[in-house]
Symmetry: C2
Subunit: 497 residues, 2 copies
């Protein structure tokens, strides 16, 4: 017998896709209890995949209770009572619109990127090779030894006091305005919960952080976008929007912007704050990258310049040191913070105190600053390597060299669609993020975001070479298509003059 394997929604490795397809067939009754599955050898041959892949798929189904091995029979679909439970509930009817549709372009791109054999410039992550694992291990050890019981017990919602205080000193504020977060993504969620009801308006830059768009959209907010480039948000446009729109807040990334790498100059920071104060507009300053500075001046945060209590500040250790620890922080005007703390109480109570304690020691002993210095040197070199390789291998691509952060935001030739380019790239085992994910409306099809942090210079050069190749392939197929379209067009008789 043969078993067809259809396309499924399932992302991930091949064996997962095969298991998923078989599972659906069992659920729909197309494969019934007692029926034999093809041998792994036959199915592997039919599908043109390795036998190991099919074995892994069968093993997964057995673990899940859908099939079982039987002596002399091979693999057989289980029947009746031992079959996995059926859902009696139509979850789609019960879920809120907050849960995004699974077929969005966002998820489609994530699915494409989940292949494991890609040379990836997609993630917004620091490079694990620089993690000061040994040093940190010694610290965590000492911290647990000295105050284990304390750190394993409850901790204030606002955070572990010594860490709050260290953050406050760094920010130049008092610790009473600081709350430790489980990553700055949690800060965006917290503010979404605090401010946004369905139909409320929120202002963002275009482009901006994709996760923020997802969060605001999930809350049912109306997202109004203001163009943002190498010198940050367009203040004339912002002013014009504020004259006619009442927004709950502006979400902005003023320093080493994700994805553009842009920076808001000091004078524009002052002007933005004046505008915000005049309109009573809260400004959410997301600042995960400012510690990753490679050249150019050190810019003051909006938070430090704010004299009117308009700015809510978010940052994180995830881009500079340890994403796995999930430690970020928020600083807010004094009257707002207790309200956010009370909201946090129903969200997840507080942040892992062992991680807070260990990280505090890491900061206090100057190891954080030493680490920053090291990674900035490495990332600067990688940024430069990417810029050189892009100019060499993909001269059709234009970009600004950012002064910090993790990304080069590249413009590809107008006739190529970034999504198509990504398909070509994945064929060459190369990955990046398509620009449109960073826009709330359909824009950015001529943009891609390349992260330079996670590979050494020669690997970056190899990646950019592949990008150049993918670009050539896209260009020639676009031209062929367009020539083809012209031919077809020419073939249509001119009936109407």
């Amino acid at each position: 017998m043969t078993v067809g394997i259809e396309q499924t929604e399932e992302r991930g490795p091949l064996h997962v896709q095969i298991a998923s397809s078989l599972r659906s067939q069992i659920e729909r009754g197309e494969l019934t209890g007692g029926q034999r599955l093809p041998t792994t050898r036959d199915l592997a041959k039919d599908l043109g995949v390795s036998r190991t892949t099919v074995v892994r798929a069968y093993e997964q189904l057995a673990r899940e209770g859908w099939v079982e091995g039987r002596v002399g029979m091979g693999t057989v679909v289980r029947r009746g009572p031992s079959a996995p439970r059926e859902d009696r509930i139509n979850w789609n009817l019960l879920l809120t619109p907050r849960i995004q549709e699974p077929d969005s372009e966002y998820r489609q791109v994530l699915r494409m990127l989940s292949q494991t054999d890609l040379l990836s410039f997609a993630g917004g992550l620091p490079s694990p090779e620089f993690f000061p694992g040994d040093a940190f291990q010694q610290l965590a050890d000492g911290v647990l030894r000295q105050q284990g019981s304390r750190l394993l017990q409850w901790c204030p919602i606002e955070g572990y006091p010594p860490l709050r205080s260290w953050i406050a000193d760094r920010l130049g504020c008092v610790m009473e305005t600081v709350m430790v977060l489980s990553g700055s993504t949690q800060g965006i969620h917290l503010l979404t919960q605090a401010f946004l009801e369905p139909g409320d308006t929120v202002l963002v830059e275009a482009p901006t952080y994709a996760g923020a768009i997802q969060a605001f959209r999930g809350a049912g907010a109306r997202i109004v976008s203001i163009p943002s480039g190498a010198d940050g948000i367009d203040l004339d446009r912002l002013g014009a929007v504020l004259d006619r729109v009442r927004a709950k807040f502006l979400y902005v990334i003023p320093t080493y912007h994700n994805p553009t790498g842009g920076c808001l100059p000091v004078a524009k920071r002052e002007a933005l704050l004046a505008l915000a104060a005049r309109h009573g507009l809260p400004v959410v300053e997301d600042d995960p990258y400012s510690m990753l500075r490679y050249d150019g001046p050190q810019l003051p945060t909006l938070y430090s310049l704010d004299r009117d209590g308009c700015v809510i500040y978010l940052s994180t250790f995830s881009k500079s040191v340890f994403p796995g620890l999930r430690i970020g922080w928020l600083a807010a005007p004094r009257k707002l913070l207790p309200r956010l703390v009370s909201l946090r109480n129903v969200i997840d109570l507080f942040t892992n105190s062992l991680a807070q304690g260990s990280l505090y020691e890491f900061c206090k002993r100057g190891m954080f600053d030493a680490h920053l210095q090291r990674v900035c040197n490495e990332y600067r070199e990688r940024r430069d390597a990417m810029a050189v390789a892009l100019r060499r291998y993909a001269p059709d691509v234009s970009f600004d060299v950012p002064h910090g952060g993790l990304f080069i935001w590249a413009r590809i030739p107008g006739e190529v669609d970034a999504h198509r380019l990504l398909e070509e790239a994945i064929d060459l085992h190369l990955a990046f993020i398509t620009g449109s994910l960073f826009y709330p409306e359909s824009e950015g099809r001529d943009r891609i975001r390349l992260s330079f942090a996670c590979h050494p210079p020669d690997t970056i050069a190899d990646g950019m070479r592949r990008l150049g190749l993918a670009l050539q392939r896209s260009l020639s197929s676009e031209r062929a298509l367009s020539a083809d379209a012209k031919t077809r067009e020419a073939a249509i008789p001119h009936v109407v003059v």
Copy 2:
């Protein structure tokens, strides 16, 4: 000069309250720039507090920039430009109703309990004296040594795979239906986000976990409550409600209930599931306590009995081992889990992977089970000590002895109000939680929740002795009041017959 210190909303230690009062006076302009504050000695004398307390209050105000020390002048209110920023924004107008009012009874009780010198039976926490800190420290050490970089980097949203798999084995399900959470409170929040829109109905037991009430109320849900006692939720009432109400889900704590300590018998579990399946009602089973079993049979979870895919299961390590690590988990029907994972993506991405990795080692090596055995022995003894002491010192109080969990749910004589009793108790430096916090409507004024986990038997006896005393005081003042009321009543001439 003298400075009056008024009552403020501020909770916490005395020096914080004093600083808060002075801060308000500066903000309102009652204390103006350049004005001298009284000496710490004078103010301490006026207020009847220690001088250290006043010094700490002044130091806090100085750190915040409200006052400064000046040579020959003492402490002076700062003026003009260096004064802290004013809020240009009226946050109350911008915040959603999700952020609860600060003057709720819930917060009032929390404030009362925040005094530091209380012998507290209030918290729902395990006792830190039993934390296997040394063993855990060695594990964390080894884990970081062996796979530091991996654990400090990104981790799948669903959780660290070995821990997911351990949890799944324990629950008797496949790991694909399990997601690791940052505590089970996060699970309640996640489900609130997934299912509840303002006006939606959610069913809960009365009483139930106060945090769940807060979360559902914050989401604007209509909370319909079903009575629940020593043998769990009242199924007749539930059935009657389901005949006329369309609810998004039922939130239920079937084993060693918080606060009642009650247990749903197996037959009622089956009946509850049948009812849920018939009505297509999702059941959220919150199960933080079942591992803390002292006697009586081990009961199957609703999740394990469910054949219709109605049950979403929540549990946590916070009640059995380490609250500070913030690790809980959720198991959900296969079709629902991916939707919850995609929602988690905008909430906080994933759970601290160092904590997940260390906890996995702790579980894998059998240390978790050994720890459970130890704390169950200790907590059983404490539960018995509390029962004995309650009967001895507070014979007017009635209660059931729970078979597991952390709480005794006590009924106090009807003429005493639990909130008044707590005031008397706090005078005697004793704390517990008033019953009304566990009800969505105004009920439970004759109930208090006593946690027996955190003190050794002799301290428990001392606490119950104080409780008896507080009860006597409340009773005699109630009787005096009531006699007084009768006198006054008698004095009113009977005009109307």
